[in-house]
């Protein structure tokens, strides 16, 4: 539980982090990320590093949970959850995946359990629940009530327009957390 007890939030420049979101644990937010109000990020089992240009929407939760038996093996090194760039966590999604690559979309109200390995370019459809242990190959699309799978052949559109828009609009209506971390300066300091 050592990591969840103290909050160490590192926000890099050009990241938009709204004040009323809850960030718990050791979390690094890379440049270009947009964290909406009421979003939750919990780094319980180890630090979370959120890649560049990720969008975390309202009421969505990203959690790096301890194993269910709540024991940390001291022999095992503490793992960092590195979330890739350009991921979108839509409203009400709940993601506890053990690995998240790049360019994934977690649609509204979906749930991704802790035993799921999400590679890159995947789309988890609205309301889809992934619980059992599995590895999603690249460009997997999971959709519908029965969680049907298909492989996306055409790449889905990028989120740059949306990110630019949010970056313009959000500061007008919300208090933001200030960037407090500059990797270049840190390097000089050490």
């Amino acid at each position: 539980m050592s990591h969840a007890e103290h909050n160490e939030i590192k926000i890099m420049a050009k990241a938009i982090v709204c004040e009323d979101c809850s960030l718990i644990g050791d979390i690094t937010i890379s440049p270009g990320c947009v964290i909406h109000p009421s979003a939750t990020i919990i780094a319980e089992a180890g630090p979370i590093v959120l890649g560049e240009n990720c969008i975390v929407e309202e009421y969505s939760t990203i959690a790096f949970r301890l194993p269910t038996d709540n024991k940390i093996d001291p022999a095992v090194e503490v793992r960092t959850l590195n979330i890739g760039a350009n991921n979108v966590f839509e409203v009400g999604s709940r993601v506890e995946a053990c690995h998240i690559g790049e360019k994934n979309v977690f649609e509204s109200k979906c749930y991704v359990g802790p035993c799921v390995f999400v590679s890159s370019g995947c789309i988890i459809g609205a309301g889809v629940r992934l619980v059992s242990e599995q590895k999603l190959p690249e460009n997997t699309v999971i959709y519908g009530r029965n969680c049907l799978q298909r492989e996306a052949i055409d790449k889905h559109g990028s989120q740059t327009l949306q990110i630019d828009f949010l970056r313009k609009v959000l500061p007008n209506y919300h208090h933001l957390r200030k960037p407090n971390y500059d990797p270049k300066k840190m390097r000089i300091a050490t």
Partner: protein, 507 residues
């Protein structure tokens, strides 16, 4: 209305004996009877696309195979596809580029291109290699399967066969029936067409060129089959590339085995239908014509005319052979006061009697509706084919009344409960004055404007076992004021109501 989406615990027996929740019943104001889906004939009023809401005339709809020309469904998940625009950089035409832009090489312009995309499963028309289009609608390529010509030939052939069959049958009937009248009588004159005169005189129809089906080459069965590929037993199958049953049925012409042959499917049209009472042929439901409108011109839903019964709760734990009671809430949906009488269901012999009576009424109706009446009907409606197929034939298709299968397994403690249900008055909700308490029978628990709560005591059957469902059944007699006629007339109607009161519990 509380049970519109879920299974209802209160159901009503239709005149035909089938049991339905009130939301699925209609009330014919001319027969003053309940009608269910089997007791009305369903007629297609109009075809429309549920996505673009375009109204499509029925002849055109048939020509288009009941599909919308502009809208597509996703072949992967059957969701509606939406057109998406992208900016594409295309090199300028080679004709004018050498004149102007020799210095800076090939000029490029951006152009808006469209592709189809599914928001459900992210399928796009690019997945199957359909090129992007310049316009959003109308230009999408038709995917024709390989044996389309063969299919068309077969279609043509069988249409000719049907036509020939029909002509032969007509010819046979004409020769067989004795010529009744050589000349049309004056009373027959309404709705007489040239072809009918010709038929009556005995001449062949003018427009009958003997249809001869063109010959087609019949299909031949073969036992030469391609062998399965050698790796079919050794290679692991990738299920993501194999289409599922739903996808194959969505594309019935070629039923692709792999997902890379899924093409956008034209969206199937929806219909607006009107319902007509089978006994009196009056409309029970008639929707407004325009697809965007969800209103009705005629809407005789049962819950606008029949008191609505709602189960509030069951008072006691139910045991076999013991007494119990349920609390019901009755609502009067009409603008007239109703006096209500709740009594036991009819016995079997009474029910059989009712059925006989009903059958007799139908017979009288049928006899009075002679062929002359049908003829006059034909002349009223513009298209003779419609009347001949829908009206005259379906009158004889009245759903045969049957004994209600649902059986009550309780006995009501009171032989009769009488009370008045006030008229509906939407303004009473805003009235401030307190209702003057009046002498009420003791079974009435609560009363407000057009609603009444009553306690209905009963004794369950001895034979019930633990876990059995207790069915409370009663006949509800109610007065109904018919406003169809010029002078409103009051009738006493009855409905048979069945209620699930809950399970028998153990000791």
């Amino acid at each position: 209305m509380a049970n519109f989406m879920q299974n209802s615990v209160v159901s009503y027996a239709c005149t035909c004996g089938l049991v339905n929740p009130i939301t699925k019943l209609f009330f014919c104001r001319h027969c003053l009877k309940l009608r269910c889906g089997f007791c009305v004939c369903h007629e297609v009023d109009s075809h429309f696309c549920s996505n673009c809401l375009e109204n499509i005339p029925s002849s055109e709809a048939k020509h288009k195979k009941n599909c919308c020309t502009n809208c597509f469904n996703c072949p992967c998940c059957q969701h509606t596809l939406s057109a998406r625009a992208t900016m594409v950089v295309v090199p300028k035409k080679t004709d004018d580029s050498p004149k102007e832009g020799e210095g800076d090489g090939v000029k490029a312009v951006t152009k808006k291109m469209y592709y189809l995309s599914c928001l459900g499963c992210r399928w796009t028309s690019r997945d199957v290699g359909i090129p992007d289009q310049n316009v959003a609608t109308g230009a999408w390529p038709e995917n024709e399967c390989s044996y389309q010509t063969r299919f068309n030939a077969l279609l043509e052939y069988y249409q000719a066969v049907v036509l020939q069959d029909k002509q032969e049958k007509q010819e046979y009937l004409r020769r067989k029936t004795p010529k009744a009248h050589k000349f049309p009588s004056l009373t027959d004159r309404t709705g007489l067409t040239v072809s009918m005169i010709r038929r009556q005189i005995g001449w062949p129809d003018k427009n009958t060129q003997k249809a001869k089906p063109v010959n087609i080459t019949p299909s031949v069965a073969t036992d030469e089959l391609e062998d399965l590929p050698a790796d079919v037993f050794t290679q692991p199958i990738n299920l993501r590339n194999v289409s599922n049953i739903q996808q194959r049925h969505g594309q019935p012409s070629d039923q692709p085995f792999t997902v890379n042959k899924l093409y956008p499917q034209r969206r199937i049209l929806w219909i607006k239908r009107s319902l007509r009472c089978r006994q009196c042929e009056h409309n029970v439901i008639k929707p407004e014509y325009h697809p965007t409108s969800v209103k009705y011109r005629i809407q005789l839903f049962a819950n606008y005319h029949v008191p609505d019964v709602l189960l509030v709760r069951s008072e006691e734990v139910l045991h076999a052979g013991k007494s119990g009671s349920i609390i019901l809430k009755l609502t009067n949906p009409t603008m007239h006061d109703m006096s209500i009488k709740i009594k036991e269901l009819p016995t079997l012999s009474e029910e059989l009697e009712m059925i006989e009576e009903f059958k007799l009424a139908c017979k009288i109706k049928e006899n009075t509706a002679t062929s002359a009446a049908a003829e006059s009907l034909k002349s009223i409606t513009s298209s003779p084919s419609l009347t001949s197929t829908t009206l005259s034939r379906q009158t004889s298709l009245i759903e045969d009344p049957r004994i209600v299968q649902q059986k009550a397994n309780v006995k009501l403690n009171n032989s009769e409960l009488n009370f008045v249900l006030n008229q509906r008055d939407d303004s009473t909700e805003f009235d401030e004055d307190v209702q003057t308490p009046r002498e009420e029978p003791e079974f009435i628990i609560w009363r407000k404007s057009n609603k009444v709560s009553i306690r209905l005591p009963f004794t369950t059957d001895e034979s019930l076992k633990v876990g059995d469902l207790v069915k409370v059944g009663f006949t509800m007699e109610y007065t109904y004021v018919n406003t169809v006629t010029n002078t409103p007339t009051s009738h006493t109607l009855s409905a048979r109501v069945f209620i699930d009161a809950g399970q028998i519990l153990g000791e």
